[in-house]
Amino acid sequence: MTGSAVADYLPAIYHTNLNNGLTVLGVEYDRAPWLSICFMAKRGAEADPPGKGGTADCTAEGLTLGTTTRDQLRLAIDVESRGARLEAHGNWDYSVVTLEGLAEDFGELMALLAEVVQSPNFPEQDFAFLKGRRQAELVHLQDNPREVANRWYYRLFFGNSPYGHPITGDLESISALTLEDLKSFYQRQFHPSESTLVVVGMVPEATVVHEADRFWSAWSGGARPAPPYQEAPPSLGQPGIYLLDRPALTQSEIRLGHLGLPRQHPDYFALRLANYILGGGGFSSRLMTRIRSDLGLTYGINSHFHFRRAPGPFVISTFTPASNTAAVIQETKVVLAELKQGGITAQELEDAKNFYIGHFPMGLESPGGIGQHLLQIDLHSLGFDYLHTYCDQMRTVQLEQVRTAAASHLHPEKLVVLVVGPAALCQSDLEALGPVNLVTES
């Protein structure tokens, strides 16, 4: 069926609402007898209580530590003896619990996920283990320069606002976490009216709807959550250059960025296209062409708008041998300024559109990939026809819209720049670019 029409392969999304308000979304999938069942509560790390960063993520993992009828080991055995995988984590704006496995086990997996979400036991001993493990992992993360840069970066410009702490928390916030915090988060944020169940697999719609009703309609959850966070933070970190000295490193990790946009912004498609041209398009991007291919200064550089319910960050990420640090920052700013000033060509836009449109079916190969689409469609109310309109929405973006979006939403003068690297090899060059603020890990 080479060259088949879009309508021939696009999955039909079915949806229903249970009596308790839970939304059920699904797609019948027939490429392989695989199955992805995903529960989403529409609150995540942005709802972590102040000083308790990591609550949403730990609550999600807490659900996998045992139910009222199965302890952690029994649950793990019951999942894995079906060849399935149970994962749970917090994200910005939502928390997810996913069970993937073979379609032949649909009934058992559906029952298991319902039990995990609806009847967690939050056992004392396993909470103590979880907390200790999380703290140890955070200690280990300090040895990973990329992680250190990412975690520090968001704190730098979001400060104490909801997106300003790492999803997994930090040593201080995890130390402060109690079992009551997890139970309380679960009670406040997991409610059927603010949750969605997504099922993608080799299972007929009627079976999914029937079993969803059987296993999920009696769940009442806790209190209704407060309205979601969707405003821009009242204050942000100051633009400038920040340096975290790591003498033992040979390269610098570099992050440059500023506040971006929410997913619902009307410039979403235009800005994704502009960002593809800037640094989202791999070797087709200007940043990769200049910094890697022409100058050989890095193995990789990319830019990304993190579209969330509230305005997320726009970040350029790269790394370079330490002595190149200032040169990479300087060149990156030049590329960013050029794009803002309107140099986007019709050919660049055409190529970017063709990439997104041509690439679209590849996101539909696996149940997990389709499930991710459905989650985003539901979280951001994109409409159940979104998969059918996506390519047209991309195709109809005009050159002027992209130029305007780049000019309006890229701010080279407001960049917060973080370098994690050996100060002895890069600080004096950085000072030539402007004042350098030394940051230290507390």
Partner: protein
């Protein structure tokens, strides 16, 4: 189109059409018409096992050079052209192969085939391109090995575990060799390994077999071949006693890394070893997670042995990495891990845990089959490493045939002290680190 929604009726056998061209090229076609996309792949039978001291890392560096321009295209234009059609392009180098792929809309398959053939014949290797890309690769090495928490200790582990086989050096190569590689080395490498007789091409996805065959014949058929390069016959002799080393670096945690020589992909016993590795470290019901990670003795206990088709062609290493939790003595963790292995050697495993990991392997296999790209890689690398693409369809049975006794025997034969190499990661201060000299 009505969907087939009965898992019990699903037939997992992959239909592989295999063709051999006069110039020695092998083509595998795996038709699948669910989505209008296709994966075109070219896998060369060359990796770091084909290198020698002085030119380590050249296979990987050469992978980079394949994107630096040809007669028709400028640097990185290959990627740009494919992306502009909605495709994605990438490549990977292992110890056994160097692979290039384009996943793209089926309507543009011919473009991918044409450009892959064009760069095979007309690659533009210039001193400028070479010098720029060498610095990029050195940056990649710093990222993946030098500044990564366990990168250099892992390199030391392989360097100690192998005394004769080329698996002893990293795929990225030694920095000293990277700095001294020349354009002439690359030209020589290209002449030896980049020819039709030394590659297997794959078309997987929305394509008819005849169409795929015609396209590959059109663009690759006329390319002459000097023949198959000389085989690598290096063999690692059996290890005769534990090898042990300390690696000092700035680190927040202590760790041990242990490597055990295990069979390569052609040896059916590898399936028992893979299941043994899963019993030790795969999933939250595994022995490693329950005994060490869950109660907080270890931050992580990883048991690495790549499954088919990524398993090593020649006998490889099963690697166990134990990261001690802060305040937990590393020596105790290590002893307890050996004790857990000794329990399997003495008492075997339960049918329940063996059945669990078998089902986990089968499930992962089914999951992979949903994806054109991975299906193609599975068939091609199995062909390249064992000579038999059809092995794809026998993998689930090979796992099923493993008995509890096989697991116990594998644990005794391979996970023993005489066959073990251990690197201890010892944290040092910044000052001690500086005094030890530069890393590369």
């Amino acid at each position: 189109m009505e969907k087939m929604l009965k898992p019990e009726a699903w037939h997992p056998e992959i239909d592989i059409k295999q063709y051999r061209f006069d110039n020695g090229l092998t083509l595998l076609v795996l038709p699948e018409h669910g989505l209008p996309i296709v994966s075109f792949q070219v896998h060369y039978a060359v990796g770091s096992r084909n290198e020698r001291p002085g030119i380590t890392g050249i296979s990987h560096l050469f992978e980079h050079m394949m994107f630096r321009g040809s007669k028709e295209l400028g640097p990185e234009e290959f990627s740009q052209v494919i992306q502009a059609k909605g495709g994605e392009v990438n490549a990977f180098t292992t110890s056994d192969n160097t692979s290039y792929f384009e996943n793209l809309p089926a309507a543009h398959l011919e473009l991918a085939v044409r450009l892959e053939a064009e760069r095979l014949v007309h690659l533009r290797l210039t001193q400028d391109n070479f010098a720029t890309e060498r610095e990029v690769v050195r940056s990649e090495r710093k990222l993946r090995a030098v500044d990564s928490p366990l990168g250099l200790p892992l390199e030391l582990l392989s360097a100690m575990a192998y005394t004769q086989h080329p698996y002893q050096w990293p795929i990225l190569g030694w920095d000293y060799d990277l700095r001294n590689l020349t354009l002439e080395d690359c030209l020589d490498f290209h002449r030896t390994y980049y020819n039709p007789a030394n590659l297997v091409a794959v078309v997987s996805g929305d394509v008819d077999s005849q169409q795929a065959q015609d396209l590959v014949a059109k663009y690759f058929g006329p390319i002459p071949s000097p023949g198959v390069p000389p085989p690598i016959r290096a063999q690692e002799p059996p290890q005769r006693g534990e090898r042990r080393a300390i690696y000092k670096k700035v680190s927040q945690v202590e760790a041990f890394l242990a490597g055990f020589h295990v069979p390569g992909l052609k040896d059916p016993e590898i399936y028992a070893v893979l299941l043994l590795a899963a019993i030790l470290g795969e999933g939250k019901a595994s022995r490693g997670y329950q005994r060490f990670v869950r109660p907080g003795k270890a931050i992580d206990l990883e048991v690495h042995l790549p499954p088919p088709p990524f398993a090593y062609q020649d006998p490889g290493l099963l690697v166990i990495i134990g990261l001690a939790a802060p305040g937990q003595p590393l020596a105790t963790l290590e002893e307890e891990v050996w004790d857990e292995i000794a329990q399997i050697q003495d008492q075997g495993v339960t049918p329940e845990e063996l059945n669990r990991v078998k089902k986990m392997m089968r499930a992962q296999y089914v999951k992979v089959l949903a994806n054109n790209f991975y299906r193609g890689v599975l068939a091609a690398l199995l062909y390249l490493k064992t000579g038999e693409a059809g092995l794809v369809n026998r993998i689930p049975d090979l796992y099923d045939q493993v008995s509890p006794d096989d697991i116990q025997a594998a644990a005794r034969r391979y996970l023993n002290e005489d066959n073990r190499t251990v690197v201890m990661l010892k944290p040092v201060s910044e000052a001690e680190n500086a005094a030890l000299g530069p890393v590369a």
